[in-house]
């Protein structure tokens, strides 16, 4: 690491709850992780497990009826949980940016792409309109938009879904931020275009030291891109560690189940392993370990919520009956 040893982002025991009519939904319930300069953290997990809400909490975008109830989000040592709205606005788009699951959360349908991109640059920097346009043009090219000069003059509706997604990514990259939270950013793209975008993102991380949180359900992308991985289930991180250790040697039964359900080359046509049952409702969580009712390893102990246990090399786990360190699902090939 270059000028500082402290991580770019440190999240400590974060709790973000939604106070709904039906009860309290503990969407993020005691989540801790950190991302260092130039590092990529993959955040994976079942739909509804709290990945997006974790990202929103970092950006200060959690809305009623939700709120951060406790914990710390330290960006270069500054606690964002207690930062003012003004301070958050200053940071967003310049130091920290988010690529949303839905690109139309970033794009304004009635404004031309150039207007939006130039505005995003000039909001944080004294720079001439021509220079800003030049940068916007370059970044559009980086995300694989053909003829960026003409495309800059287009409106969002003139783009296909995948192209809109790429423009939203371009806007997040414009100011070379320090920290990017990317929420399922490439799900609608074919792998060649996805590769182009991952290439640019990797370059940004290594050259600028940008720290990246990559939220996805695609384990194969995380495998190729991330340094570390957090696996979420029902608001909690159930397993985290380096990508190699977690994917080669999952200890939590949920992680194991996830990896086993990825379609595999040499088992073509054979039924895929599946995790039985479905994710629980946050309003009706089972007692104890939330994964209990679906877990092949479940025992009476699991009626109590498992604590985080620290294994070697920063590996963390929440399970009463972790899988043997040697059991690993057969990886493809």
């Amino acid at each position: 690491m270059s000028f500082s040893d402290s991580p770019t982002l440190e999240v400590k025991d974060l709790k973000t709850y939604f106070f709904t009519k039906g009860g309290i939904a503990r969407a993020v319930d005691g989540v801790s992780f950190s991302v260092g300069r130039g590092k990529v953290l993959g955040l994976v997990g079942e739909s509804g497990s709290g990945k997006t809400v974790t990202g929103f909490s970092i950006l200060g975008l959690v809305d009623e009826p939700g709120r951060i109830v406790s914990g710390e989000i330290l960006y270069r040592g500054e606690n964002l949980v207690s930062a003012s709205m003004g301070r958050m606005r200053e940071l967003r788009g310049l130091n920290i940016s988010m690529i949303f699951q839905d690109p139309m959360m970033t794009l304004n349908p009635v404004l031309r792409i150039d207007t939006q991109m130039i505005e995003a640059i000039q909001a944080h920097e004294k720079i001439s309109k021509d220079d800003a346009r030049q940068r916007a043009r370059d970044v559009l090219g980086q995300v694989g938009i053909a003829s960026p000069d003409e495309r800059l003059r287009a409106y969002p509706h003139q783009f296909s879904g995948g192209m809109r997604q790429r423009v939203a990514i371009a806007i997040a990259l414009l100011n070379k931020p320090d920290l990017i939270v990317a929420d399922e950013p490439t799900t609608a793209l074919d792998v060649t275009i996805q590769g182009q975008i991952l290439y640019e993102v990797q370059k940004l991380c290594s050259q600028t030291g940008t720290a990246l949180i990559w939220i996805t359900h695609d384990l194969s992308v995380v495998a190729g891109l991330a340094d570390d991985i957090c696996v979420m289930y029902a608001g909690r991180i159930v397993e985290q560690g380096s990508v190699n250790s977690v994917l080669d040697n999952p200890r939590h039964p949920y992680t194991h189940g996830l990896i086993s359900s990825v379609p595999s080359r040499n088992r073509r046509g054979v039924p895929l392993a599946q995790i039985p049952g479905m994710a629980p409702s946050l309003l009706k969580l089972p007692k104890g370990c939330s994964f209990g009712p679906r877990c092949p390893q479940v025992t009476a102990d699991c009626g109590i919520i498992p604590n985080i246990s620290m294994l070697d090399k920063g590996r963390q786990l929440r399970c009463h009956n972790p899988l043997d360190a040697l059991v690993s699902p057969k990886l493809k090939d």
């Binding site: 997990g45 079942e46 739909s47 509804g48 349908p109 009635v110 031309r112 694989g144 938009i145 053909a146 003829s147 409106y155 969002p156 509706h157 003139q158 879904g161 995948g162 192209m163 799900t187 609608a188 793209l189 074919d190 792998v191 060649t192 275009i193 996805q194 590769g195 182009q196 290439y199 990797q202 359900h217 695609d218 194969s220 992308v221 495998a223 190729g224 891109l225 340094d227 990508v243 190699n244 994917l247 189940g257 996830l258 990896i259 359900s261 990825v262 379609p263 080359r265 088992r267 073509r268 046509g269 895929l272 392993a273 599946q274 995790i275 479905m278 994710a279 990886l331 493809k332 090939d333």
Partner: protein
């Protein structure tokens, strides 16, 4: 031609083209009202595509975002009229049939849409979503419908006691099954599945894929399976069709395609597939320029990105020709 063509083919796609005159959507109309200079454009979504699908086969349809996969699927399912060309069902042109025959043929091809939430009526109960069409079309008697719906729900792994619920009361994977149940209820022979598992996380995705495979066995279904997830396509399909910018560029049996891709675009695709066992890899940028369907390149649509393009590729459209048994590719390198 295709030696399989002698065998019974269930669907024949014959020189299908689909052009859209891009009329303005809401955002466009608003933008226009605000003084924007917006014109209509012609999009060449599907360009002279031909394909024979055999009874009982699973054909995977793969390609870049915006290359025309959904459009082709919709034409096959009768949701869109083609601009040119014909779709034959068991050798008969669907348009030429009339009355009951036409209706029967239309029912035999069903489509499962990408987003289950937007294709299920939120104000209808699941029992009506599944049971309406089979009663209307006389597939079952209305007095037997409760039992019939129950049977279909069981078949797709939904608890029949949920029959009176509304779509929003289900999880993503369950909603996908409702879409499948609705399609199955009219007893189709052929299913077009458009990105049917894209929005699902892997554990639910596995449940739905297993269901598709089981139904294929039990009901002898044929599938056109649209997906950009090559892992899923490889797992499920017998044969794979690769599209690029409105045209088919390669057709091959699955194992041969993945072992030995012929077309440079297919090669580029396979080289980029992320794999669980590939760690901390160096991603590579797309070489050359990415073309647009509004203003497609001359000659081979792939030539601006193709590492092996020659002068001929810029001028002459390569035809899809047989390069080996059951293998077709549209690339000048083969001639």
């Amino acid at each position: 031609m295709d030696p399989n063509a002698q065998k019974q083919s269930i669907v024949t796609i014959n020189q299908i083209s689909k052009r859209f005159v891009k009329s303005l959507d809401l955002a466009g109309r608003i933008a226009q009202r605000f003084g924007a200079d917006i014109r209509e454009e012609i999009v060449y979504a599907v360009d002279k595509v031909s394909l024979e699908i055999q009874d009982g086969e699973v054909v995977g349809l793969v390609g870049e975002s915006g290359c025309g996969k959904s459009t082709l699927g919709r034409v096959v399912a009768g949701v869109h009229e083609p601009s040119d060309g014909k779709v034959l069902f068991r050798g008969q042109e669907i348009d030429s049939l009339t009355g009951q025959d036409a209706q029967a043929a239309a029912l035999k091809i069903q489509m499962i849409f990408q987003d289950p939430m937007s294709s299920l009526n939120p104000r209808m109960r699941v029992q009506d979503i599944i049971g309406e069409a089979p009663v209307v079309h006389g597939v079952v008697d209305s007095k037997d419908i409760t039992n019939y719906v129950e049977e279909i729900m069981l078949r797709v792994g939904l608890d029949p006691s949920y029959a009176r619920r509304y779509p929003h009361q289900f999880s993503g994977g369950q909603r996908q099954r409702i879409g499948i149940a609705r399609a199955l209820a009219v007893q189709p022979d052929f299913l077009v599945c458009d990105e049917s598992v894209a929005a699902l996380d892997v554990s639910i995705q596995a449940q739905v894929l297993n269901l598709f495979m089981r139904l294929r066995e039990e009901l002898n279904l044929t599938y056109l399976f649209i997906s950009h997830d090559l892992g899923v396509v490889e797992h499920l399909s017998d044969r794979v069709v690769i599209m690029y910018l409105g045209r088919v560029v390669e057709i091959a049996p699955t194992s041969e395609l993945f072992a030995d891709p012929n077309h440079p675009y297919t090669q580029a695709l396979l080289a980029e597939v992320p794999r669980l066992e590939t760690r901390q890899r160096k991603f590579a940028p797309v070489k050359g320029e990415i073309p647009s369907p509004i203003d497609p390149p001359s000659g081979c649509h792939f030539h601006p990105r193709c590492p092996q393009a020659s002068a001929r590729c810029r001028e002459e459209i390569p035809v899809l020709r047989e390069i080996a048994q059951k293998r077709f590719s549209a690339c000048h390198l083969n001639s």
